[in-house]
């Protein structure tokens, strides 16, 4: 994509990438003549597409690391294993640890950081009640209640929260 300042009929220049939010990357462009700026907000799919090409807005300042895309973006949830950097003898795999190596990758990786994944805490009473759910459906029930708690802003799952969840998940 190229951007034109209609006022000056001049090609606009990339200025910076703003801190992304919820997977949406924002790039700011500036007209070199009148210094007018505009922001381009990419939707998460456009941002992901840019990420999948392993290219960098504003131009790459350094060469890509070996297998940068695979090592940076293979989800740990999907079971990414660690790789050993023979120069530093450090284990490198997560997007966080890759962050310093590629500015754009870092920016996009930030955009894809999941919110706190630790999840709500179960009280002993709630856990005891969960134990009464038949074992073969217990994992599904637990996940559903945790999801309900997260969506409704509960940091702790009590028996009251379970009662509230009951209607929506049919317990």
């Amino acid at each position: 994509m190229k951007f034109l300042c209609l006022e000056c009929n001049t090609a606009m220049q990339f200025k910076e990438a703003a801190k992304p939010e919820q997977g949406s990357l924002t790039a700011i462009f500036e007209c070199p003549d009148c210094f007018a700026e505009f922001a381009m907000h990419m939707n998460p799919w456009e941002t992901q597409m840019l990420k999948s090409l392993n290219v960098q807005l504003g131009g790459k300042s350094e060469a890509a690391q070996p297998m940068q895309m695979v090592r940076s973006f293979l989800s740990e949830q999907g079971g990414a294993t660690a790789a050993t950097d023979q120069n530093t003898q450090t284990t490198t795999m997560t997007p966080e640890s890759e962050g310093g190596k590629c500015p754009f990758t870092s920016v996009v990786a930030d955009a894809f950081q999941e919110p706190d994944s630790s999840g709500p805490v179960w009280t002993p009473e709630a856990l005891a009640r969960l134990e009464r759910v038949p074992s073969f459906v217990r994992p599904m029930a637990k996940t559903s209640i945790e999801e309900f708690a997260r969506e409704n802003g509960h940091t702790e799952i009590t028996t009251d929260v379970m009662d509230s969840a009951r209607g929506s998940i049919g317990m």
Binding site: L4, A11, M67, A80
Partner: protein, 305 residues
Amino acid sequence: MKTYKDLPSDGGSNIVGQVTQQVYRLQKRLASVRYTVAIMSGKGGVGKSLLTANLAAALRLRGYDVGIVDADINGPSIAKMTGVRSAQINYDAAGVKPAVSPSGVKVMSMDLFLKNDESPVLWEAQTQKDAFTWRGTMEVTALREFLSDTEWGALDYLLIDLPPGSDRLPNLVDLLPTLGGAIVVTIPSGVSQLVVKKSLTMAKAALNIPVIGIVENMSAYICASCGKTEGLFPTGNTEETAHQFNIPLLPRIPFDPRLSIAADGGENFLEHNAETPAAKAIIEVGNKIETFFQYSIASVARSDP
């Protein structure tokens, strides 16, 4: 008002230049590889990966330096078949060291990056919803990195094990326009022939890729006790397919349970079963590949400095 072509750049990102740099990096890496061969089918479950692993072993027996790229990003199996699943991925500024099988075949596979048997290939994303919009690009980029960022060193043959689907070869050719040739794998069923023909049309007519030949896998079952040969898939006609597309019909590989046992154990089938009909056929396919590149005009042109 200025148009797209009037503007000298994209504002400083030079996305096209970055992609060009990636291509250059790939070309530089593969400059030390003499021949690249895609093992393809279009049809799943015909034994592409098993043939790839065994062809690599066959070429090693001939004294060649051989590597395998497992291009099946989502269903990698080459690492298991070659016995390198436990290999640690090591990298430095020059690239990633490939795993090396006991028979000396260099291997790069997504399997080496996954934590355990149950781990699927899942990419970091804000949401996996509508991931079809970008997942394909992710996979092609992963394949490009496997090709360009693995420290292959000097290789005589780099075998590329493609997943099923007639779109896979065009993706590979986009990355690797100098692909030396393709081996097409089928089984002698009518259904397989139907799908494989689409891949052959893609390879020959659309992409003009030299097809080294078609391999009929699981061509027959040879009884281990009495030696009697029985057909497994009597409905297809691989010979006719080969004739229709004017490509060589390479040696047929009979079904042999020991192939599967060796693959599951990550062992070299050819090493312990060299006198079996299946091993002899695989070795002969390897010889045909060697002959193809020795005599093909394309390889002569490429060997010129």
